[in-house]
């Protein structure tokens, strides 16, 4: 009875394999070997060709598993190694699975593994795969309870699994939409050790060029009222790099203090907001978020640094949805001495030519605005080239770039600009982020990919604050207006992933382009409504649907729903119960039998009504006449005519009720016990 049915075993083995598939991106090879071994071994055990492992075998297996986990993840404690540990545990459980209880534990482990797969894979197709996995696991779970023949068992289990999932769907949706999405209960140290592509905290000018050939999505954004700023204004700031050591730009942690949510800039109602937008950001493993100029903190976990960046309290390890707000006015009106110092600092004795040029320009322009305009003109009019493949620069790289090769990518121009500005005594800094993006007309969102990564400069102008200057725009205006691909020459543009010859030609074929856009839209909607459904989205949904957004009201709603559901089910049961005996005379008849049972007259199996009435008459001689009459009536009305019409039913009911009343009046305690009757019957 506690054996695992054969069908269930097969399903469990298959399900084991299926749950591993979702971990395909990070599970190391030895574990696949281990899985194949365990599954085959367990099958041979079932066939009786191998014995169940004894404790020495089990101990060795556990030891080997632990060693495998330790060495393939080089002893690091990360999400991947934790999952590998669970996989090993499930495989070992599979090996020693003997009873139904073991099988339950295995199914639960498989469900858990399936769920943890979603920490790594979140595409819509993986979502479908998860549903299939859930269904298959349920089939396995149900087949554990079935002891019927194989094919029937699978069919029944499949039917019930489908019924379970379909019937559960509405409740699941309600819970999904209404269950309070609170923040993490504790901060988890266990994070994935995979590397994310994207910007980094320090940058040498060649880095962005490497990033710019990646076709991966960095984030998607939509704008309130579809008020999309012009493409030339879509500068998504991520990082401010204000330190330069002659080679690498990095950002100084010491300089920035953070204004966390709630943001006082949004506190008074009279703020002027230039833009409202929503961003779904791919994980970076870092704390920065992407924002347009002059951001304000509109999310609970976010804050604004003194350098005007939007950051998150924790690193962004999962796809994140947030609202962004752009203010009209920059919040920083003056520069402290420390900040001025920091943004003027240059490594000494480097790039003498550039310094000389800066000094010369400083003679002509005492204002930052004029200075930057002159520099832009310089870049525009001199033979500078915008290229993904600049030469390697050595010592005095700014000099080499400015006066020798004049070939560079956005970061080179920005670096040169900042260097010159600082050398001329104007506070300036490097900013990295993304510029532009692809607008989806059908679903109104912007997709920003890694090849939209960009670097530009900001210069301090007294009275205006930090002002953006993008020297790339002077060299390659196409980059800012249309995107990287159009700004590069063909042979370079083909370096960008997904923009190879075929990919580029695809864009020119109308319907293929449409198809690609449809795919993008699907991804976006999936991200928007499924993956990044969180507290803020939940609140806005509640505001839209129920006209209120606070949690108390939501809990009340949920409670109300549950109570309503129970009431509904209860009344359904009641109605069905009453409907089950619709004919009143049959109900009356059942009550009569119930009453007689209390007097010791049972209903035998297969006993006809008249037969039963005879035994009632025997037990209650006073009722003999009534019984006979009723028996006659029943025989006549129920058995001799095809259908009992309404009047006859009424008549029957009346007679039965009469008999019930008589029975009540003559009812006496059954002195003669059944035992005694038994003996008497024997004596007959």
């Amino acid at each position: 009875m506690n054996q695992i049915p054969r069908v269930a075993l097969i399903l469990l083995l298959l399900q084991m394999l299926a749950t591993l598939v979702i971990h395909v991106s990070h599970l190391h090879f030895p574990f696949w070997l281990l899985a194949a071994l365990a599954i085959c071994w367990r099958w041979l055990m079932h066939r009786g060709q191998l014995p169940y492992p004894g404790w020495p075998t089990k101990t060795i297996a556990v030891g080997l598993g632990a060693v495998a986990v330790f060495f393939s993840y080089s002893g690091q404690f990360s999400l991947e190694s934790a999952v590998a540990f669970f996989v090993t545990a499930a495989l070992l459980k599979l090996l020693e699975m003997k009873t139904r209880r073991d099988a339950f534990i295995l199914v639960y482990l498989q469900f858990f593994l399936l769920a943890t797969g979603f920490l790594f894979e979140q595409g819509p197709l993986w979502g479908l795969y998860g549903i299939a996995g859930l269904w298959f696991g349920t089939v396995a779970l149900i087949s554990l309870q079935l002891n019927v023949a194989g094919s029937t068992s699978v069919r029944v289990a499949m039917r019930y699994a489908s019924a379970l999932m379909v019937l559960a769907l509405p409740v699941m949706l309600v819970l999904y939409l209404l269950f309070p999405r609170m923040g993490p209960l504790w901060s988890i140290q266990l994070q994935s050790d995979r590397s994310f592509t994207g910007l980094s905290e320090s940058m040498t000018p060649g880095d962005i060029a490497n990033l710019s050939i990646r076709d991966e999505v960095a984030f998607r954004a939509s704008f309130e009222g579809n008020m999309v700023p012009d493409r030339e204004k879509l500068y998504w700031r991520a990082l401010v790099l204000d330190q330069y050591d002659g080679r690498t730009w990095s950002y100084s942690r010491s300089s920035s203090s953070v204004q966390w949510y709630p943001d006082p800039a949004l506190g008074n109602g009279a703020v002027l907001v230039a833009n409202r937008y929503e961003v779904i950001m791919e994980p970076t493993g870092e704390r920065w978020m992407y924002a347009l100029d002059n951001p304000a903190a509109a999310e609970r976990s976010s804050g604004i640094t003194s350098t005007g960046l939007l950051i998150n309290r924790q690193g962004v390890y999962q796809r994140m949805h947030y609202r962004g707000v752009s203010l009209f006015k920059p919040r920083q009106q003056s520069l402290t001495d420390d900040e001025r110092q920091l943004n003027l600092r240059l490594p000494p004795d480097m790039n003498p030519q550039a310094r000389a040029m800066a000094a010369e320009l400083r003679q002509q322009y005492s204002e930052a605005a004029g200075f930057s305009l002159a520099l832009m003109n310089h870049f525009n009019q001199q033979p500078f080239h915008y290229t993904l493949k600049p030469p390697r620069y050595g010592q005095d790289e700014i000099d080499q770039f400015l006066f020798e090769s004049r070939r560079g990518f956005c970061a080179h121009y920005a670096a040169a600009f900042v260097f010159l500005a600082r050398a001329a005594g104007f506070p300036a800094r490097m900013v990295t982020g993304y510029q532009g993006g692809e607008w989806n007309e059908t679903d109104h969102f912007l997709t920003v990919k890694q090849y939209d990564a960009h670097a530009w400069a900001e210069i301090w102008q007294d009275g205006r604050g930090w002002v953006r200057v993008d020297p790339t725009a002077a060299v390659a205006p196409m980059r800012v207006q249309y995107g990287l691909e159009d700004a590069l020459r063909d042979e370079e543009a083909s370096l960008i992933e997904g923009q190879t010859g075929i990919g580029r030609r695809m864009k020119q074929i109308g319907w293929l382009y449409d198809l690609q856009m449809k795919g993008e839209s699907m991804n976006y909607l999936w991200n928007r409504w499924v993956l990044s459904y969180d507290r803020s989205l939940q609140e806005s949904l509640l505001e839209q649907v129920f006209d209120r957004g606070d949690y108390q009201a939501m809990l009340a709603w949920m409670g109300g729903l549950v109570v309503g559901l129970f009431l509904f089910m209860g009344s359904l049961l009641l109605i069905r119960r009453q409907r089950s005996n619709t004919l009143p005379w049959i109900r009356e008849w059942q009550q009569l039998q119930q009453q007689a049972r209390q007097c010791g007259v049972e209903v035998g199996i297969g006993q006809t009504p008249s037969g039963w009435l005879q035994s009632l008459a025997l037990a209650m001689p006073a009722l003999a006449d009534d019984c006979r009459r009723l028996a006659h009536l029943i025989d006549q009305l129920v058995y001799q005519s095809n259908e009992v019409n309404h009047d006859d039913q009424r008549r029957l009911q009346r007679h039965i009720r009469q008999l019930r009343r008589r029975l009540k009046s003559v009812r006496r305690p059954a002195t003669e016990t059944a035992a005694a009757r038994h003996i008497h019957e024997g004596a007959v």
Partner: protein, 332 residues
Amino acid sequence: MTASLSLRERLRALWRIRTRRWLDKRIPRQREIRLSQRSIFILPSAAGWVFGLLLLLLLLTAINYQNSLIFAMTFWLFAMGGVAMYLTFRNLAGLSLATHEAMPCFVGDTASIPLRISADGRYNRYGIQLGYPANPQRQTDAIAGEVADLHILFDCQQRGRLQPGRLLVESRFPAGLFYTWTHLDLDVGSLVYPHPEEVPLVLSAGGDGDSLPGATLDAAGQQDFRGLRPYQAGDSLRQIAWKQLARGKGLVTKEFDRDEGASCWLEWNNVSGDVETRLSRLCGWVLSCHEQGWLYGLRLPGVEIRPAHSEGHLQQCLAVLALFRAPGEEDI
């Protein structure tokens, strides 16, 4: 209840009595019962509680990693658990169980209690386990609209009216997360006779010479010698043809015609020992008298059945033996 019983034991006994009384009221003894929410109980099974733990773990994972897909999977599993509860309940609800009189049996035998199961509604019921406590369980499925007959085994240890207690009908189908059950007090209504003791019946007077105390011979019948047949295990020693054995012709049994007309009284006072021993011996004698075709009567304190020989007479005698001073049968 003595003072030596600890408070815990007393409370437990009290609890047992209370629950039995409550059950007797809620699900009274019946020949036939249709299971409904009145008679069906349901609780999460051990696997169900562990499933709850799994859900909690998944929820924590979903919250801490802010992962919508894990949220969705958690809620789906949770809702499926709820649906599974209903489906598990439904697996028993609407099931009709009926019994009729089981064949009487002797103490030490296994009674097989007939049970008729039918399922109403449009769906089949799977994985229904039936069995009396401490007796073998059997699993069955009930196909919608069909009637299935099966037998439940019960090891009879107690003489008297067959009281197997409450039949446990349970099911965990479909998901095994919930355990639904009912305790049915089916009115089996058959008797358990005393264990027949195989002591050769000896007539105390008359007969053919031997006189051991046993039954009182009322009238001797004619025993006509019919012939010889090979010995079979169990043949009485008295019937063995010793002379044939002595002549080296092997073990042969003398066969007689039935003792037509032999009549005897099987008496309580002729046997000694406690009640059960006496009844056992009398039961064995009743059976052997019946087999040998004698007329026999039964005399117990307060009960007298006149000598006769018929199937009905046998049943009557055995019934008296079964119910004599049996627990719960004070009125005899």
